[in-house]
Symmetry: C2
Subunit: 107 residues, 2 copies
Protein backbone atom coordinates (compact mmCIF):
# COMPACT_ATOMS: atom_id res chain seq x y z
CA UNK A 1 0.00 0.00 0.00
CA UNK A 2 0.99 3.65 -0.25
CA UNK A 3 1.89 5.42 2.97
CA UNK A 4 -1.33 5.48 4.97
CA UNK A 5 -3.06 8.57 6.36
CA UNK A 6 -3.49 6.70 9.64
CA UNK A 7 -1.87 3.60 11.07
CA UNK A 8 -3.74 1.65 13.71
CA UNK A 9 -1.67 -0.68 15.88
CA UNK A 10 -3.63 -3.22 17.91
CA UNK A 11 -1.78 -5.06 20.66
CA UNK A 12 -2.27 -8.80 20.22
CA UNK A 13 0.32 -9.86 22.79
CA UNK A 14 -0.51 -13.12 24.53
CA UNK A 15 0.87 -14.42 27.80
CA UNK A 16 0.22 -17.63 29.69
CA UNK A 17 -2.84 -17.68 31.92
CA UNK A 18 -2.00 -16.41 35.38
CA UNK A 19 0.89 -14.23 34.19
CA UNK A 20 1.12 -11.25 36.57
CA UNK A 21 1.00 -8.65 33.79
CA UNK A 22 -1.92 -10.25 32.01
CA UNK A 23 -2.07 -9.44 28.30
CA UNK A 24 -4.14 -7.70 25.69
CA UNK A 25 -4.40 -11.06 23.93
CA UNK A 26 -6.15 -12.52 26.97
CA UNK A 27 -8.67 -9.67 26.76
CA UNK A 28 -9.93 -11.03 23.43
CA UNK A 29 -7.71 -8.91 21.27
CA UNK A 30 -8.13 -11.35 18.42
CA UNK A 31 -11.72 -10.18 18.30
CA UNK A 32 -10.56 -6.57 18.63
CA UNK A 33 -8.22 -6.83 15.67
CA UNK A 34 -10.95 -8.45 13.62
CA UNK A 35 -13.38 -5.72 14.61
CA UNK A 36 -11.03 -3.02 13.32
CA UNK A 37 -10.43 -4.98 10.16
CA UNK A 38 -14.17 -5.30 9.55
CA UNK A 39 -14.81 -1.65 10.35
CA UNK A 40 -12.14 -0.57 7.85
CA UNK A 41 -13.40 -2.90 5.13
CA UNK A 42 -16.98 -1.75 5.60
CA UNK A 43 -15.94 1.89 5.16
CA UNK A 44 -13.60 1.12 2.25
CA UNK A 45 -10.67 2.56 4.19
CA UNK A 46 -8.04 -0.12 3.66
CA UNK A 47 -6.22 2.04 1.13
CA UNK A 48 -5.97 4.99 3.53
CA UNK A 49 -5.63 3.30 6.91
CA UNK A 50 -3.11 0.62 7.80
CA UNK A 51 -3.87 -1.95 10.50
CA UNK A 52 -1.13 -3.92 12.20
CA UNK A 53 -1.06 -6.31 15.13
CA UNK A 54 1.75 -5.77 17.60
CA UNK A 55 3.55 -7.29 20.51
CA UNK A 56 3.34 -5.51 23.86
CA UNK A 57 2.79 -1.74 23.72
CA UNK A 58 3.53 -1.22 27.40
CA UNK A 59 0.51 -0.44 29.58
CA UNK A 60 -0.65 -4.05 30.01
CA UNK A 61 -2.77 -3.15 33.02
CA UNK A 62 -4.91 -0.93 30.80
CA UNK A 63 -5.32 -3.38 27.89
CA UNK A 64 -6.55 -3.94 25.40
CA UNK A 65 -4.49 -1.11 23.94
CA UNK A 66 -4.76 0.46 20.51
CA UNK A 67 -2.21 2.99 19.26
CA UNK A 68 -2.83 5.32 16.36
CA UNK A 69 -0.33 7.32 14.34
CA UNK A 70 0.09 10.14 13.51
CA UNK A 71 0.05 11.60 16.97
CA UNK A 72 0.92 8.53 19.07
CA UNK A 73 -2.64 8.48 20.38
CA UNK A 74 -3.27 5.46 22.56
CA UNK A 75 -6.66 4.19 23.62
CA UNK A 76 -7.02 1.75 26.50
CA UNK A 77 -9.57 -0.74 27.78
CA UNK A 78 -10.81 -0.97 24.22
CA UNK A 79 -13.57 -3.44 23.52
CA UNK A 80 -14.28 -4.92 20.07
CA UNK A 81 -17.61 -3.11 19.85
CA UNK A 82 -15.75 0.21 20.12
CA UNK A 83 -13.68 -0.27 16.97
CA UNK A 84 -16.33 1.28 14.73
CA UNK A 85 -16.61 4.33 16.99
CA UNK A 86 -12.84 4.83 16.95
CA UNK A 87 -12.82 4.65 13.16
CA UNK A 88 -15.74 7.06 12.85
CA UNK A 89 -14.64 9.60 15.39
CA UNK A 90 -10.84 9.49 15.33
CA UNK A 91 -10.16 8.58 11.71
CA UNK A 92 -13.09 10.01 9.81
CA UNK A 93 -13.95 13.01 12.00
CA UNK A 94 -10.44 13.70 13.28
CA UNK A 95 -11.59 13.98 16.89
CA UNK A 96 -10.06 12.29 19.91
CA UNK A 97 -12.25 10.09 22.06
CA UNK A 98 -11.03 11.74 25.20
CA UNK A 99 -12.61 9.41 27.75
CA UNK A 100 -10.86 6.38 26.22
CA UNK A 101 -7.36 7.82 26.05
CA UNK A 102 -4.68 5.93 27.92
CA UNK A 103 -3.99 7.79 31.18
CA UNK A 104 -1.07 10.21 30.91
CA UNK A 105 0.87 8.38 33.62
CA UNK A 106 0.88 5.25 31.44
CA UNK A 107 1.57 6.82 28.02
CA UNK B 1 6.58 5.15 29.40
CA UNK B 2 5.61 8.68 28.39
CA UNK B 3 4.72 9.26 24.76
CA UNK B 4 7.94 8.62 22.88
CA UNK B 5 9.69 11.03 20.52
CA UNK B 6 10.10 8.15 18.08
CA UNK B 7 8.46 4.76 17.80
CA UNK B 8 10.30 2.01 15.98
CA UNK B 9 8.23 -0.91 14.74
CA UNK B 10 10.16 -4.00 13.69
CA UNK B 11 8.30 -6.66 11.74
CA UNK B 12 8.78 -10.03 13.43
CA UNK B 13 6.17 -11.89 11.38
CA UNK B 14 6.99 -15.56 10.87
CA UNK B 15 5.59 -17.89 8.22
CA UNK B 16 6.24 -21.57 7.53
CA UNK B 17 9.31 -22.39 5.46
CA UNK B 18 8.47 -22.36 1.77
CA UNK B 19 5.59 -19.89 2.14
CA UNK B 20 5.38 -17.90 -1.11
CA UNK B 21 5.51 -14.50 0.62
CA UNK B 22 8.43 -15.42 2.85
CA UNK B 23 8.57 -13.39 6.06
CA UNK B 24 10.66 -10.89 7.92
CA UNK B 25 10.89 -13.44 10.72
CA UNK B 26 12.65 -15.85 8.37
CA UNK B 27 15.17 -13.12 7.59
CA UNK B 28 16.44 -13.29 11.19
CA UNK B 29 14.23 -10.51 12.50
CA UNK B 30 14.63 -11.84 16.00
CA UNK B 31 18.23 -10.72 15.71
CA UNK B 32 17.09 -7.44 14.17
CA UNK B 33 14.74 -6.66 17.04
CA UNK B 34 17.47 -7.49 19.53
CA UNK B 35 19.92 -5.28 17.65
CA UNK B 36 17.57 -2.30 17.93
CA UNK B 37 16.98 -3.05 21.58
CA UNK B 38 20.71 -3.17 22.26
CA UNK B 39 21.37 0.00 20.27
CA UNK B 40 18.71 1.88 22.24
CA UNK B 41 19.95 0.62 25.60
CA UNK B 42 23.55 1.51 24.78
CA UNK B 43 22.53 5.09 23.95
CA UNK B 44 20.20 5.38 26.94
CA UNK B 45 17.26 6.09 24.61
CA UNK B 46 14.61 3.76 26.02
CA UNK B 47 12.80 6.67 27.67
CA UNK B 48 12.56 8.61 24.41
CA UNK B 49 12.22 5.88 21.80
CA UNK B 50 9.68 3.06 21.89
CA UNK B 51 10.43 -0.27 20.22
CA UNK B 52 7.66 -2.71 19.30
CA UNK B 53 7.59 -5.94 17.35
CA UNK B 54 4.77 -6.27 14.85
CA UNK B 55 2.96 -8.68 12.63
CA UNK B 56 3.17 -8.16 8.87
CA UNK B 57 3.75 -4.57 7.73
CA UNK B 58 3.01 -5.32 4.09
CA UNK B 59 6.02 -5.36 1.78
CA UNK B 60 7.17 -8.89 2.61
CA UNK B 61 9.30 -9.11 -0.52
CA UNK B 62 11.45 -6.27 0.81
CA UNK B 63 11.84 -7.56 4.36
CA UNK B 64 13.08 -7.26 6.91
CA UNK B 65 11.02 -4.09 7.30
CA UNK B 66 11.31 -1.43 9.99
CA UNK B 67 8.77 1.38 10.30
CA UNK B 68 9.43 4.56 12.24
CA UNK B 69 6.93 7.15 13.45
CA UNK B 70 6.53 10.08 13.26
CA UNK B 71 6.57 10.26 9.51
CA UNK B 72 5.69 6.67 8.60
CA UNK B 73 9.24 6.16 7.37
CA UNK B 74 9.85 2.55 6.35
CA UNK B 75 13.24 0.99 5.80
CA UNK B 76 13.58 -2.29 3.93
CA UNK B 77 16.10 -5.07 3.58
CA UNK B 78 17.35 -4.08 7.01
CA UNK B 79 20.11 -6.20 8.52
CA UNK B 80 20.81 -6.39 12.26
CA UNK B 81 24.15 -4.64 11.85
CA UNK B 82 22.31 -1.60 10.46
CA UNK B 83 20.25 -0.98 13.57
CA UNK B 84 22.88 1.23 15.15
CA UNK B 85 23.20 3.33 11.97
CA UNK B 86 19.43 3.84 11.85
CA UNK B 87 19.42 4.97 15.47
CA UNK B 88 22.35 7.31 14.94
CA UNK B 89 21.25 8.85 11.68
CA UNK B 90 17.45 8.78 11.78
CA UNK B 91 16.76 9.17 15.50
CA UNK B 92 19.73 11.14 16.79
CA UNK B 93 20.60 13.22 13.71
CA UNK B 94 17.09 13.43 12.26
CA UNK B 95 18.24 12.47 8.78
CA UNK B 96 16.68 9.86 6.52
CA UNK B 97 18.86 7.04 5.24
CA UNK B 98 17.64 7.52 1.73
CA UNK B 99 19.20 4.46 0.14
CA UNK B 100 17.45 2.14 2.61
CA UNK B 101 13.96 3.56 2.27
CA UNK B 102 11.25 1.16 1.17
CA UNK B 103 10.58 1.81 -2.55
CA UNK B 104 7.66 4.18 -3.12
CA UNK B 105 5.72 1.54 -5.04
CA UNK B 106 5.69 -0.64 -1.93
CA UNK B 107 5.00 2.02 0.73
Amino acid sequence: MAKPDYHIFVCVQSRPEGHPRGSCGAKSTGALFDAFSQALIQRNLLGRVALTGTACLGPCQAGANVLIYPGAVMYSWVEPQEAAEIIEQHILSGELITDRLTPAELW
